[in-house]
Symmetry: T
Subunit: 145 residues, 12 copies
């Protein structure tokens, strides 16, 4: 079993930029913790980060047959990208969207949630651990199918 873990724009700077908001864990550390957690249940994590909306869509399409579910933190694209939303809609397996912060606590430009409408589950506001809870939920969803 495989799970696609997608990280949107600027998340490659986790642990380095604005650590008061986003925390001190690097993306590599997060990915490694997710991989470790998943490996216990014999699940492989395919982690991918890009600042390019198109590359995220390409990756979703590429993995649409091989991955059994998707954990996505669309970052800034969560609020603006109909294209990414469309690619989630065409993905027929469980999707959980996660956010490190609570978008509702921040600027109004972050209030519209476009991609979340295509996700079954949504986890936000709990720092890098949002990924962990999201992954747990996603695995349960996949297994429950």
């Amino acid at each position: 079993m495989k799970i696609l873990v997608l990280h949107g724009p600027n998340l490659n700077l986790l642990g380095e930029r604005q650590t008061d908001i986003y925390g001190k864990k690097t993306l590599e550390e997060i990915n490694s913790q997710l991989a470790q957690y998943a490996s216990i249940q014999d699940i492989q994590i395919i982690a991918f980060q890009s600042n390019h909306e198109g590359e995220l869509i390409d990756k979703i399409q590429e993995m649409r047959h091989s991955a059994n579910g998707m954990l996505i933190n669309p970052a800034g694209f969560a609020h603006t990208s109909v294209a990414l939303y469309d690619s989630l809609l065409s993905y027929n397996k469980p999707i959980v969207e996660v956010h490190i912060t609570q978008p509702f606590h921040r600027e109004t430009m972050r209030h519209p949630l476009i991609t979340a409408r295509a996700a079954q589950g949504y986890v936000a506001g709990m720092g890098w651990k949002s990924y962990v809870y999201g992954l747990t939920a996603l695995i349960d969803m996949i297994l429950a199918k």
Copy 2:
């Protein structure tokens, strides 16, 4: 250690009403699963459901010294109650808000999220298991303090 688990209006009918939307677990079963999960970490669950906004606020105030964190599914009050929001604001410990469904997938009257602005964490859309992921997150938050 104690955790307050609050259930808002109509959640006492879980497992009975609109099961296609809210699932087949009863509130009692959910509470009992949460208690069991928490007991492993020696945490006591204080579960309370009410259809009365005032009773929920009373309970939050009553438990504000004894409970170490709060897991709340405000149901319909999530979208309308400034009073409940105020009582969350005056609660100085970690709060996680959970929803069985994704409010964004439903009627527009469910789109404003008032109470969520006072919660650190937010979990939605994963059926009764939203409670479980929310509880896990809450316990981590409390322990991390």
Copy 3:
């Protein structure tokens, strides 16, 4: 056969307060006329008034198996209560919402109609007799089932 007749906040003052707007019939008189009308068809009226949103929801839940239909004047809650709306949604029998006045003729805060979205029928603007026409319609709906 039983019908639940619910009266929302401040309706206990009917006949006493703002009689130029709401008319001179007291709530007791209205209930008694509805009961008399219903009794002709061997239907029992369970009338209940409360200024508490939670008590109205409790009553709806309590009667959900025993009453064959509901006639509701949610008064001020009609425009604000998602919780009451949710409890109407979980009630699987015919519902008719009535108003003594026409909300559209009044302050803009009365223009959103939240609970009415869960009612099959809607009668407004005809003074206390809105209850009578609503009851007639409700009985027809129940019998037509």
Copy 4:
């Protein structure tokens, strides 16, 4: 005593078009039932349907002295016609507006209610029987004058 019963655009197709939404009664059957009901109280029904906003206004003006009240289902014009609203405003006798469906349950273009602001009574959502309840109410209003 005479009552004008006005049917707006497309209602001549009742019983034939979209019967899942509008029911199976034809307009002729409805008119005949209303006439029969009214005749018991020695009231004559003048029924008129048109797809032309102008013809409805003409009819209202023509009958403004001879009819003692008006029962109107403005159909699509309910949401758009200031002209029809103006002609209701200039009609000095009781008016009840009826709808077969609940406009609030449907497309947002049906949410503005323009003509209803000029009607004393409003009945909606109860199929063709909305006419019956509306007529009952209208007759009561006329007699109460």
Copy 5:
């Protein structure tokens, strides 16, 4: 020289309906005063009233070569009719729109002014004399050409 004077829906009831708002002059009297005024300058008035948007458009088209200008009180259509606006746009001579009342003082549904965007001049709020001032202005415009 000819001037088309168009009166929109319900204006045929001037002097009879809502005289506190619209005044006591009948449409016939207004037309006759306008004709008299115009005749001094050897101008013929072609007055036309209809409750039918289509008839007003037909008349505008019919007179588009023979009339040298248009004085129009679109009444309720002023706020809703793109079709009437289009027919004004296709009329290549001076147009003055008049209103008996001030739409800004009234219900918000009367605030959008659609047809006025196609008129060179606009006169409102001065009772039936709005027609007189509008006609004076229109004649000046025509003569100034």
Copy 6:
């Protein structure tokens, strides 16, 4: 096979009014070209223009059994008429809406598209040839049934 071609208000002036916007073809010429094109496939064109919303609705109802599809340019009614929209909804065969210009390039009052919500196909902005492409599409739709 028959196709109903409906032209809304002011389109009878095509080729004469505002030719910089609407082009130089007259309505007669357009109808004749459509008829000629259709005749190749043995299809008869029933063309009808009116400035009266009610006449357009009457015609749609009249032809609802005999015409196999409808090509409609609702002109100004496209943006305002719920009544026309309702009559399209009750028409059970393919509908294509066409516009000579692009409403999005013009005044904001032309931006709401009400009737288009009831049409399967939509063609705009290509001058009188919008009719031709729309007709081609409509015939394909009918034949594909």
Copy 7:
């Protein structure tokens, strides 16, 4: 009899600035024509222009007992000044507001009409002659009192 003629900001540049929009008449010429016209009926014109909102209000207050009516072109203040509106409200005699252009044809910042809500009459779009028609109307109003 006296009439106060008020000109708002930038109108002192009439005839000089943006003559394609505002025309070639100077303010002095307009005032002189109004005075001449009024003198025929033995009415004195008190003309006053200011770029200062406060000076316009001062003048209105100063003249509130001596002037029998007011003709005002508030220019830019028409769309923004609640203070000027308040001073019109406290003026108990007839007021006619005039505009050289049609505000509805221009930038959206000119669409709100605040002062016009306190004026009985409104004339717009007919160049400097808007003043003339406005004055005629105002004199009629005063005489009709």
Copy 8:
């Protein structure tokens, strides 16, 4: 003479919660100061706090004959409760609404002021002393009657 002093949800925690915003006075201390102040003028204070909207309405109704005026801090209900607003409307004596903070300085959810529309006086932003100024004003109003 009696005055009803109503405190809305969460105000029982005054002096304890968010003291940087709401100050250090407890509700008991405030009530006692109000009572002392009122007693000078031989006025009795009936103070009542509740987190339940329904209890506040019940209390208003209960005291509607015996209390000569009402001082109310509706807290969160100020922004959401049409039911409470209705009960103020049906109360025929002077009402002053007070707020400890200035709602306009805070979250946008606190900007709509529903109950204030039924109060004659409004005092906000001056800490617990808002109650004192409000009470002074209320007593003056009552005595002025």
Copy 9:
């Protein structure tokens, strides 16, 4: 100790204009009562009224070192003036804004409250006595410093 009392546009007409809304006290009488009240506590009142936004700002700047607090009724400027708001922001001492009426009970153009965002206290709706309560509060604030 000195307090600046600022009165915005049209308040010089208090007691004369619209007395049903604003009451019968003149501005002079109000100022004299405020002065008398303040003198008891050895405070001097510097009262200033202007219809000119600029003069109000000039006065605020002029008094910014000598006055210990400001009582302001910005009248119409309360809803429109960012410039006045800025000058309040730059004033580093207590400010209380007062209104004779309740802006929320009146036209929507009076609903935005711009200057109030820079005031610590806000008193409205209690006739000329709003000044008295505002002054009391302001003196308390100054003394509490």
Copy 10:
């Protein structure tokens, strides 16, 4: 003669994903049919699909001298991309925008049409054949130049 055919994000999955909405034709099949159709008139089709907004812009720029017109289905970018809109604006030859579905029938996030404002023609709702009608129109436009 060459025509650029651009396909936006996710269209490479046509025929595979959500076939109930988008139909069963693959992109390759569509391209091949368009090429075949164009070849009859000796026109070459340059088809290009990308999930990358930037690649679509690059392609438009690259082909801006060699292609005589553009047929574009921007998919999700139609509703969000000002950058793509800008690149269409800078393309000086005919552009036709096509959509497989009718955006107006779908989620509100698809209602804003940004790129369409830069296209001369617009065809929507007719499945993959929208491309065919769009191409026909585009060729006519190019030939008409």
Copy 11:
């Protein structure tokens, strides 16, 4: 060559009020630095500050023939004054608007930019040096003419 430098309300307090936001330079110092910079190119600076909208308009009109360009910081008037905007429109030479701060970073009441629509250039957010960059740009514009 002369350049008019206009400073809007409250800017005379620069260097004294809110120095954390507006910096420590006084207006005099800024004017003197601008004069010095301009004198190098033989340009004379006419600096003028006022808290009165009317005085700013008067000055613009007075200098409209003698000044070759205008540098304006309208301060609070930037967001509210149509009158000032109109006077900029009637000024036929280059205009650059400058702001010390970025209005977009501040309260929403500062987001509408009315006067900026009449300026060719706009510089904001760079403290008092915004004036310097604006002046440089303005001189270039004038010389480029």
Copy 12:
């Protein structure tokens, strides 16, 4: 010292496309002028243009340690890209945003300014020279640090 100069989508066509709006300078010429200007102060310009939002973000990240400030013209992304905004937020050095035109003078889709909220300085409307003034300001900011 190094400065990153970023050019958003379509700016590579400067000097070629829509020269009436964007001017005749090519991007190369602009870059070369900026480089020349900067070299005087011994500053190196790193210029980069891309039509890809992702490449712009990549470049910002790549240069975040080596460049001392950023001059950015985000073009169309200025109005839509939260992702680009986020990458500016995570850049800890001075940023100045420039625009060749004034977005406020153009289509409403260009009115929201998302990226500008993360820039300290903003320069717009002065053609290609906006870059020059922006660069001057940026260098001053860097040196002032």
